[in-house]
């Protein structure tokens, strides 16, 4: 038991042995601090009677002010009159009387609780008046009895009994802030999330979603271990869009770090029907993938494996022909050898189509392959960097259900490559660095063996990431044949003030055209399209990136540009994408689209947010959204409207209105975001 100590300007002891302290009186006990105008300590009755203004600060920061009080010297039990309890400097509870019990409970009678600024003569923006409020310091909960919720002094809601977490709580079971959601298809609805903590590392959120058109329950379960975590979200619904049907979805994913560099992951995506995900605004995904994956990575080796099952909601596709089942396991190792680097490894892949019959829609393919490559670098006079080497790849295919191909095929692909770089540097005025780097990459390879279906290399990209690569094909089924030369030039400017500009241009010339490349990739023909990629960073938080592929008569193919501006108050990102028709990639019509996504904190209270996606080729918006946010020290209001114009046959466009009002001051997040203004009187 600690001792209580008392400091004052003057102390008198009267005949009855009572000690009377006056003038700047302060009492300290075990972390609590009390200051008052006058304290009388009656040793016989073991009582402090205190005259205000009293200021009592508890060990973990809660503050009580009162006019008069009767307490024990340990400041744990007793009664305060005309008191105000302030929690975490944010939530204020004023009461006619506070009874402190065992240093744990504060029972407040005739209470008003608010987190808003209290000015004389004006009711706070919101407050909760209650006959009694008990604050449990150990459980950190506030129990209201016979409470009324008032806005600007006007009673709005009466609640017989209510429990709210006090501001020091980060995580507690209980109701979360309800959200109102209005959509064309599901009407005006309300979501009432209820959060349940199941121990320190698990929780469950159940959210009934009720509207004129649907009754559904959404659930989210999360669990974390020391070396992994799992999250599952799902819902079950009965609605008027598909009467008599039980609809729903389940998404789950998890990751476990078995050892440093070794992770096991899994993902599950299932939905009762194609439109459920967009009807309920859950996700835009139109292909669902469930998979199990494993990766083991060290400084010089990589092992990857995954097995996946796919389903499609796209109108022009059938699950069985996707292929639904596909799996892959691959290993690669790098090591120093003969003054250079030896890279070798192997891979096994398989895909299974469940549609019966033969041909493209029924074919099953299994492949096992191995490869080895060696390359070495040398610095030539005048600063040229030459790296050269060769590689060979073997592939064994088993192809079923497709008469167009032999049942088993063996392929060998030898290749040689030499790359020459010549990095040049110049120092400009003021510490600006210029870097120029010409590039010449010569490669030759040939394909010996039978024809195989091109399953994994149908979609090809051309960018500065594979300008100097041996092949642009992403997979193993297709191989570039014959001799080709890639030429490139990259220029970089780095200024002292942080401004940076990067430009890369390149082109590939071939001895013979490679029929495998589609027009859109820009790689077809004897000479590919020009590749141009640009990068700009400006010190005031602006970053721009762009990449395009265009042919000699300046006809643009794949083009993508991104702009981002991040500053303390503005967060803006804009993208532009143009994709030409690419039949071999399955794109029947060209796409030109720009998107904007921005948030502007106009004032510490007001914030604006907007996002939009506009389809230039069809000259119509795809999605648009706008949001206004207002918050002060005790309330946050977010109004949002978003409209998605995508219209499949049955889906007509949907508009979502969202209104969310959350009271700050209960539970830790959102505490003290905006400082209260001054009282205007």
């Amino acid at each position: 038991q600690g001792t209580a100590s008392l400091v004052a300007d003057s102390v008198t002891v009267d005949a009855a042995g009572r000690l009377i302290a006056e003038g700047n009186v302060e009492a300290f006990y075990d972390g609590s601090r009390l200051s008052a105008a006058r304290i009388v300590y009656d040793q016989a009755a073991d009582r402090l009677s205190i005259d205000g203004p009293i200021f009592l600060q508890g060990p973990d920061g809660e503050i009580v002010t009162a006019e008069r009080a009767e307490l024990d010297p340990r400041l744990e039990n007793g009664l305060l009159r005309g008191a105000r309890l302030v929690l975490e400097r944010q939530l204020q509870l004023t009461a006619g009387r506070i009874d402190r019990i065992d240093g744990r409970y504060s029972a407040l009678t005739r209470t008003a609780a608010t987190a808003c600024q209290v000015c004389d003569g004006r009711a706070p923006l919101w407050e909760i008046r209650a006959a009694q409020v008990v604050h449990d310091e150990v459980e950190r909960q506030l129990y209201f009895e016979n409470a009324t919720f008032l806005i600007r002094g006007v009673p709005v809601l009466w609640i017989p009994a209510m429990r709210l977490p006090d501001p020091t709580v980060e995580r507690a079971t209980g109701l979360l802030v309800p959200r109102i959601r209005t959509t064309d298809r599901l009407g005006l609805g309300i979501k009432l999330p209820y959060f349940v903590t199941l121990g320190p590392s698990r929780d469950l959120t159940l959210t009934p979603y009720l509207s004129r058109e649907t009754t559904s329950v959404e659930a989210r379960y999360r669990e974390a271990w020391l070396s992994g975590e799992i999250e599952a979200t799902g819902a079950v619904s009965r609605d008027s869009l598909r009467p008599g049907e039980v609809r729903g979805y389940l998404f789950a994913d998890g990751e476990w770090r078995l050892a440093p560099g070794r992770t096991l992951t899994f993902g599950l995506e299932a939905s009762s029907d194609p439109d459920y995900l967009t009807d309920y605004g859950i996700s835009d995904r139109d292909r669902l993938t469930s998979f199990v994956g494993y990766a083991a990575v060290t400084a010089d080796s990589l092992a990857e494996a995954h097995l996946a099952y796919h389903r499609t909601f796209r109108e022009d596709e059938v699950d069985g022909a996707l292929p639904p089942w596909e799996g892959r396991a691959a290993y690669e190792r790098r090591m120093a050898a003969f003054g250079g680097t030896l890279t070798f490894g192997g891979a096994a892949e398989a895909l299974l189509r469940t549609t019966d019959g033969t041909g493209d829609l029924a074919r099953d393919v299994a492949r096992a392959g191995a490869f080895a490559g060696w390359q070495r670098q040398a610095i030539l006079p005048a600063g040229f960097v030459l790296s050269g080497g060769g590689s060979v790849e073997l592939g064994f295919y088993r192809i079923a259900d497709d008469p167009a191909f032999d049942r088993t095929v063996t392929r060998v692909t030898p290749a040689v490559q030499a790359t020459l770089r010549w990095p040049l540097i110049a120092r400009g005025t003021g510490g600006t660095a210029h870097l120029l780097e010409p590039l010449l990459a010569v490669a030759w390879s040939t394909n010996r063996g039978g024809a195989v279906p091109n399953e994994d290399s149908a979609v090809v990209e051309f960018d500065e990431g594979n300008l100097d690569a041996l092949t642009r094909y992403p997979g193993e089924d297709a191989r570039e044949d014959g001799a080709r030369v890639a030429v490139g030039l990259s220029y970089t400017l780095i200024a002292a003030d942080g401004t940076e500009l990067g430009l890369t241009a390149g082109r590939i010339y071939r001895a013979e055209a490679d029929t495998g490349f589609d027009l859109a990739s820009g790689l077809n023909g004897l000479s590919s399209d020009w590749l141009l990629s640009a990068r700009l960073d400006l010190p005031l938080g602006i970053t721009a990136r762009a990449r395009t592929v265009f042919d000699d008569d300046l006809e643009f193919d794949k083009t993508e540009a991104r702009l981002a501006w991040a500053s303390p108050t503005v967060d803006l990102s804009a993208t532009y994408v143009y994709l030409p028709v690419a039949r071999s990639e399955g794109r029947e019509e060209s796409i030109a689209e720009w998107t904007v996504d921005g948030r502007w904190q106009v004032t510490p209270s007001w914030s604006l947010a907007a996002e939009g996606r506009y389809d230039l080729s069809d000259a119509r918006p795809v999605t648009a959204g706008f949001g206004v946010g207002w918050r002060n020290e005790c309330v946050e209001v977010d109004v949002s409207i978003s409209r998605s114009y995508t219209s499949g046959e049955e889906q007509d466009p949907t508009t979502d209105f969202g209104l969310e009002v959350s009271l700050l001051g209960f539970s830790a997040e959102g505490v003290g975001a905006v400082p209260p203004g001054r009282c205007r009187n």
């Binding site: 102390v11 005949a15 040793q43």
Partner: protein, 141 residues
């Protein structure tokens, strides 16, 4: 533990006083006796020690009326102990005034102040100037 009468000193001014000291000098005109060098004054259970004590005798009764101790005073009774730079013990008025870094301890309680006036007959006390009290809670096990 008896109920300590916090802040008051348990002493009876009417008891006889003996004074021992290394040296004594008497001033005929003022009737004051100056004891110096490890002066110890005893009165009942009370012991007062100081570097120098001036004893003032009342003209009427010739008895000791007042003791003014200085140069660091300590005060001990069976229940309390006190220290101060100087003390003025007025036996006729029954008051004891301690001045200068006064520190009084009673059992587990302690009081400190710049100045303390104790009325021994009524048991009241008045402390002023940065008063600091440390109270042991009552009824602690």
């Amino acid at each position: 533990q008896t109920n300590l009468n916090l802040g008051s000193i348990d002493a009876d001014p009417s008891l006889p006083v003996e004074v021992t000291a290394e040296s004594l000098s008497v001033d005929q005109q003022t009737g004051e006796a100056r004891f110096s060098g490890n002066v110890v004054i005893g009165q009942g259970d009370l012991r007062l020690a100081a570097a120098e004590v001036i004893v003032v005798y009342s003209e009427a009764s010739g008895e000791i009326a007042r003791l003014r101790a200085s140069g660091g005073v300590t005060f001990v009774t069976p229940t309390e102990a006190a220290e101060a730079q100087a003390a003025d013990y007025d036996l006729t008025a029954g008051t004891l005034t301690l001045t200068g870094e006064v520190l009084l301890t009673q059992g587990a309680n302690a009081l400190s102040a710049n100045r303390m006036v104790v009325n021994l007959t009524t048991g009241t006390a008045q402390l002023d100037g940065q008063v600091r009290t440390v109270l042991a809670p009552q009824g602690t096990p």
